[in-house]
């Protein structure tokens, strides 16, 4: 190539940067990938890869939570950011709720029939979260929706209370998932409430009064067998209790994550 060619070729960069198509990620792709990964992870027998190290980390994590001043070489950052993670989690729930209201896309499957909504969710989540129509007790079912919270696809059931809409997010209690120990009961004008029943952890988000969320929780607990496990605090109907299921191990990185964090910065770009 001659130097003249070279000079001309230099025009190509600006040309491309100015005019070439910049593709945006299609909506839903990240969620679909999340679902596919979950399915893959479930399918492959995990031997003990994911779980054995956790058992080692759990006591460490608990120690860190008890001794506030302790400084673990790699654990400190996580400990410091833990409450931030909790707020971030609540934030995501509120954002999901607000988004669904703003875009007027409250449900993906609008139906007041729990036997329609539950299978619809089950088909997309590989678990069947409890769905009820409490129309006769003041919480008619509006339908179901999928959303993406904390890097995971989550099923949302939507209820109506008077003029208000209530979103109920649910996860199986044994699912590795960061559930905050103390979450704000309200955030940016929305109210949050969480409880555990029937093997699921529920998070309700709404612009309705906290008392209404309390009532909805009571409906759920009455309809589901209450689970008593050492990991859960039992009096889930206490008005003051917001978080009932705490697993510190879920808030700490697994050794694999810790290992990855030690990689040179270029690995994270």
């Amino acid at each position: 190539m001659t130097s003249e060619d070279w000079l001309q070729a230099q025009a190509v960069g600006p040309l491309i940067r100015t005019y070439a198509r910049r593709d945006k990620v299609p909506p839903g792709l990240a969620e679909r990938i999340g679902v596919a990964l979950e399915a893959e992870a479930r399918q492959a027998p995990r031997t003990t890869a994911a779980f054995r190290p956790r058992r080692v980390w759990r006591p460490l994590a608990l120690a860190a939570s008890l001794l506030l001043t302790i400084s673990l070489a790699s654990g400190t950052t996580w400990f410091v950011t833990e409450s931030r993670q909790q707020t971030a989690f609540a934030d995501e729930l509120v954002a999901s709720y607000a988004r669904s209201r703003l875009t007027d896309h409250v449900t993906d499957i609008p139906s007041s029939d729990q036997h329609t909504v539950r299978p619809w969710l089950a088909a997309r989540l590989d678990i069947a979260p409890p769905v009820f129509d409490f129309a006769d007790r003041g919480f008619p079912l509006l339908g179901g929706r999928l959303d993406y919270v904390n890097h995971k696809v989550v099923g949302v059931t939507v209820y109506k209370r008077g003029l208000h809409v209530i979103n109920v997010f649910s996860w199986p209690v044994n699912q590795p998932f960061a559930l905050p120990a103390t979450t704000p009961a309200s955030l940016r004008g929305y109210n949050l409430r969480s409880w555990t029943a029937g093997g699921f952890t529920f998070w309700a988000v709404s612009d309705a009064d906290p008392k209404q969320l309390e009532k909805l929780e009571a409906r759920f607990c009455a309809a589901l067998p209450t689970r008593t496990s050492s990991l859960e605090k039992v009096p889930s109907r206490k008005p003051t209790s917001t978080a009932l299921y705490i697993d510190m191990a879920q808030l700490t990185p697994s050794p694999a994550a810790a290992e990855l964090r030690l990689l040179p910065p270029s690995a994270h770009e």
Binding site: A9, L15, L29, P253, A267, E269
Partner: protein
């Protein structure tokens, strides 16, 4: 790392690169739906083989898998367009940049628009198109590009310059044709 990481950890690492991955797949497959399939496939593949990640540069490692998935897809679904195992860099000059008009890049720059540039890019052979996309659009380093397409840095640079020359030549031909119409 001998064991597979959890899906969540993998997503935390891999989702930030989704746009780059999708863009690369889209430019290689010429098609939105196919690009989505390719990316999803590649992410799954990357997750399955995450233990083979050596810890150098996650983005390059991931994009290499996306690229391979895209070529696999092209191979399986049509496209004599590319894929042969001959070393494309051994081929002699493809473009004929000789009869350039006066100040051609200025003319092209003035007349260019989104449609023209996208067409020109799409019209390049994929081994030239991909280096331009990775370098000019995604602004990756030569080193990263070399890792992604698995060739030496020198090859990246020579492909880049050939890609630029050919894109310009194609552009001028197109403008000339347009002016004759």
């Amino acid at each position: 790392m001998s064991n597979r990481i959890s899906p969540r950890e993998f997503e935390r690492l891999a989702l930030p690169h989704l746009e780059a991955a999708y863009s690369l797949a889209r430019w290689l497959t010429h098609n939105e739906t196919d690009a989505e399939d390719v990316v999803q496939n590649a992410y799954l593949r990357a997750y399955k083989y995450s233990s083979s990640f050596s810890g150098q540069n996650f983005r390059a490692w991931l994009l290499a898998i996306v690229r391979n998935a895209a070529y696999d897809w092209l191979r399986d679904n049509r496209m004599p367009e590319l894929v042969s195992d001959i070393d494309v860099d051994e081929l002699t000059d493809i473009a004929d940049p000789a009869p350039l008009a006066d100040d051609p890049e200025t003319v092209l720059l003035r007349k260019a628009d989104h449609g023209i540039v996208n067409d020109l890019l799409a019209g390049l052979p994929s081994h030239l198109r991909e280096v331009l996309i990775l370098r000019e659009l995604q602004e990756l380093s030569y080193r990263e590009i070399a890792d992604i397409i698995a060739v030496p840095i020198g090859t990246v640079m020579s492909r880049l310059s050939r890609a630029r020359v050919q894109l310009l030549a194609d552009g001028q031909r197109r403008l000339k044709e347009a002016s004759h119409d």
